[in-house]
Symmetry: C2
Subunit: 345 residues, 2 copies
């Protein structure tokens, strides 16, 4: 209704003090007399004053906004990641611009530039597939801390927070092997992301160290989603010699694989061993409960936020690369030892 927002000078006038004093009160300065402070605070409530952070930023040119760009919010791994960041960011007194690139680099470029215009203090980016170092460079050059999370971008000289995909995948395969499997597939994902590459490398190396020859057909590409998991199973069903278990690129694919198996009357975890990657919330309650490599997305989000906050406070520091460790969480979906499985098959 008010034609014009009430400003600091309005309360100054009402309180009979100068705008400087009001500003001091707003900043919680100890310089100002208690009585004055109370009077001003009362007026602030009464007049419905709202602080104009934009104006403040203009003067002191350091905002309290952190940009977060996530490639796919509908994947619960990323949603949890975002929630973890949100918690950290909020509790540090910052707010977040959260945007969704939908795996499109163009879109990502747009939102990043828009964030720049709005004066973010730092950026956390889970890059869309195909992101190049040049997409990030201008930001980093202008002194805004950037933290890459989940996926790396080759050539970008910024901080990264990645999970130990290689070790996680290797541990998962070793586990399947220890259960007696030797026809093990790798399902989901496309070769163009670093995450895929690292997990696949773990898969290969673990097979190699057990002297199990790699069957290239068993690396089944598909969208890194639930639907992709279903598709991968369909593909697999056409094979003459089928795998008895699979490591999936992520939990979404793993759930899709469960769905796909059921459509083919194979009971996941009994007729076929499945291991996922990420450990999203549902992994625990799903039936069968999903054996998966736990990445702790919320924790990772928090860590990423901490990292960017640290860099913001420290002025400018050298890029830091953190690899978070992962651990295999064994639940039901990887199934009973394979000798039992084969009897059933």
């Amino acid at each position: 209704m008010n034609k014009t927002r009430t400003s600091i000078v309005d309360i100054a006038r009402a309180a009979g003090v100068s705008k400087s004093t009001v500003s001091l009160v707003l900043q919680g300065s100890s310089l100002v007399n208690e009585k004055t402070r109370d009077k001003v605070n009362a007026l602030i409530g009464d007049l419905g004053y709202v602080y104009n952070r934009g104006a403040a930023n203009l003067r002191q040119s350091k905002s309290k906004i952190i940009g977060i760009v996530v490639n796919d919010l509908t994947n619960s791994f990323f949603a949890e990641l975002a929630v973890g960041m949100d918690m950290m960011v909020q509790s540090a007194g910052y707010v977040q611009f959260l945007a969704h690139s939908g795996e499109s680099v163009d879109r990502q470029r747009e939102v990043i530039s828009s964030m720049r215009e709005n004066g973010i203090a730092g950026l956390i980016l889970s890059p869309a597939r195909g992101t190049e170092a040049s997409d990030i460079k201008p930001l980093a050059d202008s002194g805004i801390p950037v933290v890459l999370v989940v996926r790396n971008v080759s050539g970008a000289k910024v901080s990264t927070l990645l999970s130990d995909n290689y070790t996680g995948a290797r541990a998962a395969i070793r586990h399947l092997i220890s259960l007696g499997h030797h026809r093990i597939a790798f399902m989901g994902g496309f070769a163009d992301t670093a995450v895929f590459g690292e997990r696949l490398r773990g898969y290969r190396d673990a097979l190699a160290e057990a002297n199990i020859p790699l069957n290239e057909k068993f690396v089944i590409h598909s969208a890194p989603s639930r639907a992709g998991g279903v598709a991968a199973v369909e593909r697999m069903m056409g094979f003459a010699e089928r795998p008895t278990s699979a490591l999936c690129l992520n939990d979404a694919v793993a759930f899709g694989v469960c769905d796909g198996l059921r459509s083919n009357n194979i009971e996941p975890g009994k007729g076929f061993g499945i291991i996922g990657f990420d450990d999203v919330i549902e992994a625990k309650t799903a039936v069968p409960a999903l054996t998966t490599v736990s990445v702790d997305p919320q924790g990772m989000g928090q860590r990423a936020a901490q990292l960017v906050l640290k860099q913001i406070n420290a002025g400018q520091t050298d890029p830091e690369s953190i690899v978070t460790s992962v651990r295999l969480v064994v639940r039901q979906s990887c199934g009973a030892p394979v000798n039992q499985l084969e009897e059933l098959a």
Copy 2:
């Protein structure tokens, strides 16, 4: 690295024109000579100028930021809703402040006030449980359009975009009845949200019109999440006389119910009919594919964004209440006609 951001006057100086001219170029005004425009644009690229939207807002006091607060991003219904909004908002040249209240009113209050300070042009809110009209009033009073989505807040005089929960639930129950069920549960949710109330009312009325007496025990409260669905099934297993089917508060609960049934060796869709609500992406690919009331979360998000954008452009308009229609999507999870079911049971 630069001590100070390059500003409009820097390019003005470099181009030998006044800052006003540069401003005009930035706004794409037709007043400025083509040659000048080109020169300025070239300099903008060269000097790495980035527009300072904060400063601009200060002067013209209408920002291009839309606040979006969602109560639970990890629920894919809300994630999709957010993605739908994101698409609309971005393509209208706005950016979004997306925050997650985690179903906490305190947190919600914080983020809303933070958004206000940052000068949002409008707010889309999917309110946390227990939100009161007073939480929204100050915003609305100060002339910022607010659109409530998914859940209503009684007494709030702002626009709303709700789905037709009552009709959807009634249609679902009618369908179950037509399949021969008469012991039908309602699973998930707590009585303190309007959504719950409306869907439950649809459930009750549909039973009543078929002259099926309501068994209060069959309304099983639980968290509106996957884990809640599992819990609801556990509760149900203790009943002497068990339901043969259930309408779930939402798809997340429905998936949890499937999980819970499997743990009890009941095959969802065969030994027990399940209908969800929302139609999230996974509903289609899940096994069994989920029969659910389709709410089209992305579309709803888009509609909500359109509504708030309309109100922003129109200055101030009267609150508008939109009820989006829903439709029952019959897939596998509601199962075969009940006479077959009972043979199996």
